[in-house]
């Protein structure tokens, strides 16, 4: 079964991680733009970060046969930096149009301040303008209230719930997110957020529809193999393969495909893929470029 990690910060991970992820069956990832740990002090730093998500990181992933997509946004934490916020929102107008950008995100509330609310609202409008789904971070502190506010804002702005993925859910937030019609993400973490046994319980209770799991692996103590580990935990608990595939592949594909930019290429990526076969066009390392006759692409 091929797997999809719909929320992982690969910029902070090593090639060993990529290797292990590919071997464990991860064929595609989405990397949301987020806080990099150290607060940024220049708008230009954000631009270089966006560019690395659209260039270097995509190439790194491809070397291991993993398709890499990204979401771009001003994250909630740094939305509080007034000196930066307007400049970063300005950058988004240029970068949201690019290939490989499959949503606006992570946006949302962190400390739940007025500044966060304003930038969250602005970026929902940007998503509408650029016809993109949104990936929403929910706060780790005062999560239930933050999730309620998030869903209220989605309803108030009439942003389509089917284009909304509300992330980092737990036992106290999942039900309201599903009831709202939004998609529900779960970050499986070694210590905090959500773990595999709790996730199994949630799937047994709520099923697979609109439910996603991710590793949210970043620069902290985290594990980029949490999607395959959760798939395994679900299997051991007797959850049907079809439901596991829905959660770990089909749902993220269906959600992000709404961007019209989720280019997965043909067929399945086998683990241990030939590293000479790259995804970027006709990039075969040796010999002549393949002259395959052009087929008509899908309607845009």
């Amino acid at each position: 079964m091929q797997l999809f990690d719909p929320h992982v910060h690969m910029t902070s991970r090593t090639t060993d991680d990529y290797q292990a992820m590919a071997a464990a069956g991860i064929a595609a990832v989405v990397e949301p733009a987020f806080w990099v740990g150290q607060p940024r002090t220049h708008v230009g730093t954000f631009e270089d970060y966006f560019l690395s998500l659209l260039g270097w990181e995509r190439f790194r992933a491809q070397q291991f046969g993993i398709r890499h997509f990204c979401t771009l946004a001003l994250n909630p934490k740094e939305a509080n930096n007034e000196a930066l916020a307007a400049g970063v929102i300005g950058l988004l107008r240029r970068y949201l149009e690019k290939d490989g950008v499959v949503a606006v995100g992570e946006i949302g509330y962190d400390d739940q301040t007025e500044a966060e609310h304003r930038r969250f609202t602005e970026q929902l409008a940007l998503a509408r303008e650029f016809e993109l789904p949104v990936l929403i971070h929910t706060p780790h502190r005062d999560k239930k209230r933050g999730t309620e506010r998030t869903l209220a804002l989605i309803a108030e702005t009439k942003f389509p719930p089917e284009l909304t993925l509300v992330d980092h859910n737990n036992e106290e937030t999942l039900e309201m997110v599903l009831r709202s019609g939004c998609w529900a993400g779960h970050s499986i973490y070694p210590a905090t957020k959500m773990d595999e046994p709790r996730m199994v319980t949630l799937v047994q209770k709520y099923g697979a529809e609109r439910i996603l799991v991710n590793s949210a692996a970043d620069w902290g103590v985290s594990d980029p193999l949490k999607v395959p580990k959760t798939a395994e935990a679900l299997r051991r608990a007797g959850v049907a393969d079809a439901a596991i595939e829905t959660i770990c592949w089909t749902n993220p594909v269906r959600f992000f495909a709404q961007s019209g930019r989720l280019e997965l290429g043909d067929g399945v990526v086998p683990p241990g893929v030939d590293q000479r076969q790259l995804w970027e066009g006709n990039s075969v390392l040796r010999g002549q470029a393949p002259r395959v006759d052009g087929q008509r692409p899908r309607d845009s």
């Binding site: 260039g55 190439f59 002549q288």
Partner: protein, 228 residues
């Protein structure tokens, strides 16, 4: 430069919806390449064209620009050829003195497909020698698709790059396992310095007990003519 015949060739290969979008994009480009709307069209083209190869049949490419035997867009991906037409259209409507800054800015802010398209089209732009710094930047980029965009099947480097940059490109290709037979005009750029550098690379590989790239001999033994 004759890029207009490329438009019907592309339209025959994309969907009707994309063709309509392309016509609007070209109309925007006719107002110049240095605008916000141009940048948005430039980026938005990728997902509307896709990446299938444009293989021109028979007389199809006859009216198109040709540089050193390379027909504009022939064998390129649809998004590359589409971006080439869009940029040539935009630059034709822009004061020549602004071209370099506009193309450099598109390169700086480009994702990998955009950068690759730029690398491929440089040779077809007006006064192409002005863009050599962008070609050098593309050679420095590690993402293979951008590097190959400038190094492989592209008349630009042999025609416009200084010896130092050209030689770095050849050695980087060998280093990364990219066939140097795909470097156009290599035979004419086979200088004593390039031969020395490739000989040094081979010697380093042998000393380390590793294989010498097969086509290093194209340079060291002068078989480049046969291969190109």
């Amino acid at each position: 430069m004759s890029w207009r015949p490329l438009v019907p060739i592309l339209n025959a290969r994309i969907s009707a919806v994309s063709s309509t979008w392309f016509a609007e994009a070209l109309r925007d480009a006719e107002r110049g390449a240095g605008t916000e709307i141009f940048a948005a069209r430039w980026s938005g083209l990728g997902r509307r064209f896709g990446r299938a190869s444009v293989i021109m049949a028979g007389a199809e490419g006859e009216a198109l620009a040709v540089v050193s035997g390379q027909v504009l867009g022939d064998g390129w991906a649809l998004d590359e050829a589409g971006r080439a037409a869009l940029l040539m259209c935009g630059l034709a409507a822009t004061a020549v003195g602004r071209h370099l800054r506009i193309v450099a800015e598109l390169f700086r802010t480009g994702e990998v497909r955009e950068q690759r398209a730029l690398a491929r089209v440089l040779a077809f732009l007006p006064q192409p020698e002005r863009f050599s710094e962008i070609a050098v930047e593309a050679i420095r980029i590690n993402a293979a698709s951008v590097f190959e965009g400038i190094a492989c099947d592209n008349p630009y480097p042999a025609t416009h790059l200084a010896e130092g940059a050209f030689n770095q490109m050849v050695v980087k290709a060998l280093f990364n396992g990219i066939s140097v037979a795909r470097i156009r005009g290599l035979a004419q750029r086979r200088t004593p310095e390039l031969i020395r550098m490739v000989t040094a690379l081979s010697s380093e590989r042998l000393a380390a007990g590793r294989a010498v790239p097969q086509d290093a001999a194209l340079i060291t033994k002068g078989q480049a003519d046969a291969a190109v």
